[in-house]
Amino acid sequence: MTSTSLLQPRFKQLKTLRALAIGLAIGLAIGFAVPAFADNLPEVQRLIKQGQYPQAMEKVDAYLSSKPKDAQGRFLKGLIYTEMNKPAEAIAVFTKLTEDYPELPEPYNNLAVLYAQQKQYDKARTALEMAIRTHPSYAIAYENLGDIYAKLASQAYDKALQLDNANAATQNKLALIRDLITTSGKGNVKPSAAPSSAGLAVPAPTAAAPAAAVKPAAAPSASVVTSTQGAASTTPAKLVEAKPTPAAAPTPPAPVANKADAASEDVAKAIAAWANAWSRKDVKGYLAAYANDFNTPKGMPRKAWESEREDRIAGKPGKISVTFDEPKISVSGDKASAKFRQHYQAPGLSSSTTKTLVFVRSGNKWLIKEENSR
């Protein structure tokens, strides 16, 4: 199980949760805004999205060398370790984050994901309960916790009834959180205990109790808004407009991101998902990236094309890796085209081609209408 495959199924939910989560933890140590931040971290995030982890690591390390305490940077570093399948390093990073910023739920959540991968469900549970304690309305942590409870229950039953559940391959599918979305102006500022009313199940009295016990610190610079959906985040330096659309990706704290930017961001994500499904030999996911009226090569029947693709993807022995360089994306209305360099690697074949994908918007998705390589 790779960590990437872990991420995929929940990607949608992550999107809905993202809100506008940036600028967090700014000036944590110094008390001032850090403008340089804007130049680097989004780039790191982009590299992560494209699967270019070593490069991402390089950038984030460079960033952290000047701001070693920065929560966002360290969080991304943990994320990169996770993606690179280095759980020990990732755990170390997230653990340190929970120590330095105990009010942030995301590091706890990701710690739990890592522990769960290692079948350390009790540790995972503790971490998730901490995440919820710090942030009583944290939906993903709740869902993850539900999965952990189920796993622990199943283990308990095994012990109670001496079931031989060696075949219990029902691998957990915990969602890794990819952004710090709760924010705080200062390390010691606690999230407000008010649960969001965003339709999240907020356990009533007891769950809120621990958070209520947390005293908001009277830090003058901290004007903090936290909540998962549609949250606005404020930083001492810059005001970022809160976007009501849940689809908003983490945008740089540059002025208002325009619609086209958001669209091209979504297209980039569609490309990443497509390449990812291909790499995972997830034929279903791969084919789902294509529009119903996709122009098949040489006009071959859709069915024939699908089975050919299936043959070449799922039927291929060994590992497939599909990565791509920064795509050039142009959006016009409900159409978009993306041109990029694609790197394909499989046993016995590795190639780099320039590819153009034409996308059409279908609902909230971007689907491939045409695929051309040169």
């Binding site: 304690r133 907020v202 356990p203 007891t206 621990p210």
Partner: protein, 445 residues
């Protein structure tokens, strides 16, 4: 707003003695939440509580996800009953978070405690979905769940129904002074009671402790070899087998008892190898009915009991269902028997053979003789006696459990006469026939 309900009928049923029939109406999850992510959260619970004789449902909505505060870990060596009772009380009160913490602290003490694992499984599962029964796992093996449920039921009953202070088991009529403790087993209740011989208080049995036990797979009243039943009767510990000499199955130690005793043999009961012993290392406890006839304790309980066992002395009285006597009734029964026994002794000294023989049943049998042979021999012997002195020491009198009224009398007999002196340890079985106690067996012990 989160409308997830769950039902812990099965758990509550345990409390009510598994009267699952009277369920309060089942409630199902209500209200899908808008957020998919929220679906696992906030298991507010409505718990249908069963109380005998009529079921009543208390529905309370309490969220139980995040533990409010850690309860202190209670460590006690008095067995898990108190903790189990607390856990079920928390479940009844719909404080599932507390129940889970208590269960986990119990598991810290006894990591192999299967019943606690089952409860923990239920409590965790209840956080993700509504559960309807004890052992709510889909496809859980019914027999194993039933075993654990049975254990929970008998343990809680045992915990709630301690022997009353002014009542004693009818069987312990009189212990000899050096018998420091006696064991009484109630197979129906899966309970072992440890009594102290309170010599300072006239030899009154004083309740010390009670423990959960496992009996034979097929219950009590052993008759033949291999019937997987536990014998019922008056026995004593005959040996102490240390752990090092035992297979893992026997746990921390074993104490064989003298089944079949003289009475069993006369009744044609067969079989052997009935022990008190401990529990194998892979589990904290075994189900109420699981052994091949032995009485099984948890290792910690066996160790506690073992401290008080005297090889060759400590009585082990196994009963289907212990009869309890008030101290007054107990004292009367004891005095009656003491008088009867002393009358037998005095009539022996009288050299009046008929008076002496009226204490013997027509069905009397010793190892070698029936009543007629015995009577003829006594008449012949008494003819040559000028005087007889009989002294009884270290008398013990135990009533044999069961429908027939039988008591087991054991003593050191010091017999002197003009032509013969003899000391022996004698055991007699007295049977109540037509309202009178008669000796049905006697022999050296």
């Amino acid at each position: 707003m989160q409308g997830r309900k769950l039902i812990l009928l099965g758990l509550a049923a345990c409390l009510a003695g598994s009267a699952l029939a009277k369920q309060a109406k089942t409630q199902t999850p209500v209200g899908k939440t808008a957020s998919k992510a929220g679906k696992k959260t906030g298991s507010s619970a409505s718990l249908a509580k069963l109380a005998a004789p009529v079921a009543l449902a208390t529905a309370a909505k309490v969220a139980s996800t995040a533990p409010a505060k850690r309860l202190p870990v209670t460590v006690s060596d008095s067995g898990p009953e108190a903790q189990l009772a607390k856990i079920f009380k928390e479940i009844e009160g719909n404080r599932l978070g507390n129940a889970l913490q208590l269960t986990e602290s119990l598991l810290q003490q006894h990591p192999n405690y299967r019943l606690a694992h089952l409860i923990r499984g239920d409590l965790l599962l209840a956080r993700t979905q509504p559960i309807q029964t004890f052992g709510a796992l889909n496809g859980a093996p019914a027999d194993k769940v039933a075993d654990l449920r049975a254990e929970a039921v008998v343990r809680l009953k045992g915990y709630r129904e301690k022997p009353e202070a002014n009542f004693v088991p009818r069987y312990l009529l009189q212990m000899q002074a050096d018998q420091r403790y006696a064991i009484v087993v109630d197979t129906k209740r899966s309970r072992l009671y440890l009594y102290e011989n309170d010599v300072a208080n006239g030899g009154r049995p004083r309740f010390v402790a009670d423990y959960y036990i496992t009996q034979g797979k097929l219950g009590a009243e052993k008759l033949v070899e291999g019937d997987k039943k536990t014998p019922v009767g008056v026995y004593h510990v005959t040996a102490n087998l240390p752990r090092q000499k035992l297979a893992d199955l026997y746990g921390s130690g074993a104490f064989p008892i003298n089944y079949p005793n003289e009475w069993d043999k006369q009744q044609g009961r067969k079989g052997s190898g009935i022990w008190l012993h401990g529990t194998p290392s892979d589990t904290f406890a075994r189900p109420p009915r699981a052994s091949d006839g032995c009485v099984v304790l948890t290792n910690q309980d066996l160790d506690a009991v073992a401290k008080n066992l005297q090889v060759g002395l400590t009585p082990v009285i196994i009963s289907n269902s212990v009869e309890w006597l008030s101290l007054d009734d107990w004292a009367r029964e004891r005095n009656d028997l003491n008088k009867t026994i002393d009358a037998w002794r005095a009539d022996w000294e009288s050299r009046d053979t008929d008076r002496y023989l009226r204490h013997y049943s027509k069905r009397f049998k010793s190892a070698e003789q029936n009543f007629d042979q015995f009577a003829a021999q006594k008449k012949q012997v008494n003819a040559g006696k000028e005087w007889i002195k009989v002294k009884l020491d270290n008398l013990s009198v135990f009533r044999n459990p069961g429908k027939e009224e039988v008591v087991v009398v054991t003593f050191d007999q010091d017999y002197r006469s003009n032509n013969l002196n003899n000391q022996m340890k004698k055991r007699q079985y007295w049977l109540r026939e037509d309202g009178k106690w008669k000796i049905i067996y006697e022999g050296s012990a």
